[in-house]
């Protein structure tokens, strides 16, 4: 048993049991994609000619259309299959970033590495990868034209939805997260604007720029991931060893946001965020979260050291906020937002909860309320970099993102 979850090892994590890593076949049948990838960072090897030829072949299979959007990290184009113009795709061209002069950005590598392993109806599909001139990396992604869940949540004027719709969306998200975790992938950036909507209404988890596989016991993971409003308390306390339940906390925040139609815990800074969490869900203490005081970051928070300890919120208060989802729904929400990660539900337990089976039955995906996204929105959605909140009305301008690959 090798202790080697380093990013360079064989990506076999997804190949268990009945899981068939579909995109892997496409990529193995075309070694050019991976070879040219390597060629970007290392000196070229002997098969350069063959690999270039194969890459060219792959590139010719798609027609790049007009530009949909441009971000700091990538440019997104509209595109389609050359032999079948009705098969639409989105092509994400990774910019050769100033930060990574002699290689590719980590986000791109992570996105390719994990997306190619995951094949699930609720996870964005990576059809192909090829490099174009100037050795730019191009990801051919599924075309998801109807915007993202954030657009739906925030358009309170023209979009109306009910409990059955919330249940359907949450279920699709929970399936996606569960599937990631079953394939040993932590997404680490779940938020409404990473949940894209396909033409048929299906919600798909996208943006794997911050994901990684589950860690071996003695390797540190960075705590500086997940957009702040959706980040669980253990990451603020600088835990270096955590598990899949970090994604479950984000799911809980998305759940609450779907109900409230406004972000549940919109902290202005890390300090502010912890204060908000303490106010909303109680202050984490040694009693309700054994061992929390041992975490590095715990003492740093004034909210915990100086202010009075907030007790866990009374049932009535939550009933007032989230009453529409019913008692079992609140039970599920609380299990997702448990402070102690050991008490938080795992993604599997979330799906096993009986709330899914209660009335009303989740809406059919065709019947879900939609919001016309249009082409520009596709660009908006895909060009973002992990950890960023979509621009627009300055909602997250001060949310800076710094990745520490320690």
């Amino acid at each position: 048993m090798a202790v080697s979850p380093l990013p360079g090892t064989m990506p076999s994590a997804g190949a268990n049991g009945s899981l068939k890593p579909r995109p892997l076949t496409m990529l193995t049948s075309n070694p050019a994609g991976s070879n040219s990838l390597v060629a970007n960072t290392q000196s070229s090897n002997i098969n350069t000619d063959i690999s270039e030829q194969l890459n060219e072949e792959e590139r010719r299979r798609y027609v790049k259309g007009k530009k949909l959007g441009e971000g700091t990290y990538a440019i997104v184009y509209h595109g389609h299959h050359r032999d079948n113009p009705s098969k639409l795709v989105a092509i994400k061209k990774i910019k050769v970033n100033a930060e990574f002069r002699d290689g590719l950005s980590f986000d791109a590598i992570r996105e390719v590495k994990y997306l190619q392993e995951l094949s699930h109806p609720n996870i964005i599909a990576l059809h192909s990868v090829f490099s174009s001139k100037n050795q730019n990396l191009n990801l051919v992604l599924e075309y998801l034209p109807l915007g993202d869940l954030e657009g739906v949540i925030r358009d309170t004027k023209s979009v109306h939805y009910g409990l059955a719709d919330i249940k359907a969306w949450m279920n699709m998200l929970a399936r996606a997260v569960w599937f990631c975790h079953e394939s040993f992938v932590l997404h680490r950036d779940i938020k409404p604007n990473n949940l894209l909507i396909a033409a048929d209404g299906e919600v798909k988890l996208a943006d794997f720029g911050l994901s990684r596989s589950f860690s071996d016991p003695y390797l540190n993971m960075t705590y500086n991931v997940i957009t702040r409003w959706y980040r669980p308390p253990e990451l603020f306390f600088k835990a270096r060893h955590y598990s899949g339940v970090v994604d479950v906390w984000s799911m809980g925040c998305v759940f609450a946001e779907l109900i409230l139609r406004t972000p549940y815990l919109p902290g202005g800074s890390d300090m502010d965020q912890v204060t908000l969490i303490c106010k909303a869900l109680g202050t984490p203490t040694e009693q309700i979260w054994p061992g929390v005081e041992m975490l590095d970051g715990y003492k740093a928070y004034a909210a915990i050291s100086s202010e009075a300890v907030n007790p866990p919120p009374p049932k009535q208060q939550l009933q007032g906020l989230f009453g529409t989802i019913g008692g079992q729904g609140i039970d599920l929400l609380l299990s997702m937002l448990a402070l102690d990660p050991n008490k938080r539900a795992t993604s599997k337990q979330v799906l096993q909860h009986e709330w899914w089976l209660t009335n009303p039955r989740p809406s059919k995906k065709e019947a879900l309320p939609k919001k016309g996204g249009g082409l520009e929105k596709v660009g908006e959605d895909l060009k973002r970099r992990g950890g960023e909140i979509g621009d627009g009305d300055g909602r997250g301008e001060q949310v800076a993102r710094k990745l520490n690959f320690g």
Binding site: N16, S18, T25, F237, Y242, P290, V292, M294, L295
Partner: protein
């Protein structure tokens, strides 16, 4: 009264129609008098009596000898003049709501007719107050026993009326469009004729060529245009007519019932199985002990079983995967 009758011509008798049997006020005193009945006993009384008597809760009917307790909520205006008919309609409505079986649910027409006969017997008994208790009991029992079927048929019926309404609306819209098109066409034709005439006059005014020839030519072009138009629209009409008769059937009944929905599957019928190993709760291995006992690992939520599961999956991932097969498969 006398003056009023003089003014209005023939004097009008104060009939039963115009007087409330409870408060004896007449239409002469209250022009806007409305009569209401309660399906409990069908004694009619005026609106103000209902307000006066029943606004503070249920009460006994004010008509002498009628000992039924009435509630204000159930008072409603009378539809039929004859109170007997009013009552019969109510009873029939109530029975039909419970006995809403359809013909296609029966094996043969005879069965259906027998069923209708049975229902009619029950209705008749209720209307004519024969064995009311026994009949009511039967009705209740049937309703209890067939709740689901009744509901289903209700839904079907409402769907049918809805689709019928939709169809009617579509037909109306179609007719409107046709009318508009016809109007537009007539307008066009009128305009063209005027233009043609103007053209002929202009030519004549200029005095070029033979007058008779010009007039004849003008008439011919007009005729040509109008026949061309008639042919074009005729074709159009044909296609729209055939679409109308060939695809839509009025009152078509859908026989096939939709399959009952499967219970919701939270996992979406995706399963992930570990073919080659069973994950145990505990592995005796020194390597894991530090992580297992460490407080910081625990507080951060680190889960050793996740690691074990991944490590075991990695170890067995290559089994039963043959590169040759994979390549031919693609």
């Amino acid at each position: 009264m006398s003056r009023l009758s003089l003014k209005n011509g023939a004097p009008k008798e104060i009939s039963d129609e115009d007087q409330c049997p409870v408060c004896k006020s007449s239409r002469y005193l209250n022009r806007n008098m409305r009569f209401l009945v309660n399906p409990e006993c069908y004694h009619k009384m005026c609106e103000s009596c209902v307000d006066r008597l029943f606004s503070s809760g249920p009460r006994v009917c004010p008509v002498a000898g009628c000992n039924r307790t009435l509630r204000r909520q159930r008072f409603r205006p009378q539809t039929f003049e004859d109170i007997q008919i009013e009552r019969e309609v109510d009873v029939r409505k109530r029975v039909a709501k419970v006995f809403n079986r359809r013909e296609d649910e029966f094996d043969s027409l005879l069965d259906y007719n027998n069923y209708l006969n049975e229902v009619e017997d029950l209705t008749f008994n209720l209307i004519h107050k024969i064995d009311v208790d026994a009949t009511e009991k039967k009705l209740k029992a049937y309703e209890e026993a067939n709740k689901a079927a009744i509901r289903e048929n209700e839904v079907l019926a409402s769907q049918e009326t809805q689709s019928l309404q939709a169809q009617e609306a579509a037909e109306k819209e179609h007719a409107r469009l046709r009318r508009e098109a016809a109007l537009r066409e007539a307008e066009e034709e009128r305009r063209e004729r005027a233009e043609g005439r103007l053209d002929v006059i202009n030519q004549l005014a200029r005095g070029e060529g033979n007058a008779d020839e010009i007039a004849r030519q003008g008439r011919r072009t007009l005729l040509k245009k109008s026949t061309a138009r008639r042919v074009g629209t005729g074709d159009e009409m044909d296609t729209s007519d055939s679409a109308g008769t060939g695809l839509q059937f009025k009152g078509l009944r859908r026989r096939a019932r939709p399959e009952p929905e499967k219970p919701f599957e939270p996992f979406g019928e995706v399963t992930v199985e570990h073919e080659y190993f069973v994950l145990k709760g505990h592995y005796a291995w020194d390597f894991l002990d530090t992580a297992r006992t460490s407080q910081t690992y625990r507080a951060g939520g680190y889960d050793i079983s996740e690691y074990c599961s991944r490590a075991l999956t990695d170890a067995f991932a290559g089994l039963a995967v043959f590169v040759g097969e994979e390549q031919t498969a693609t």
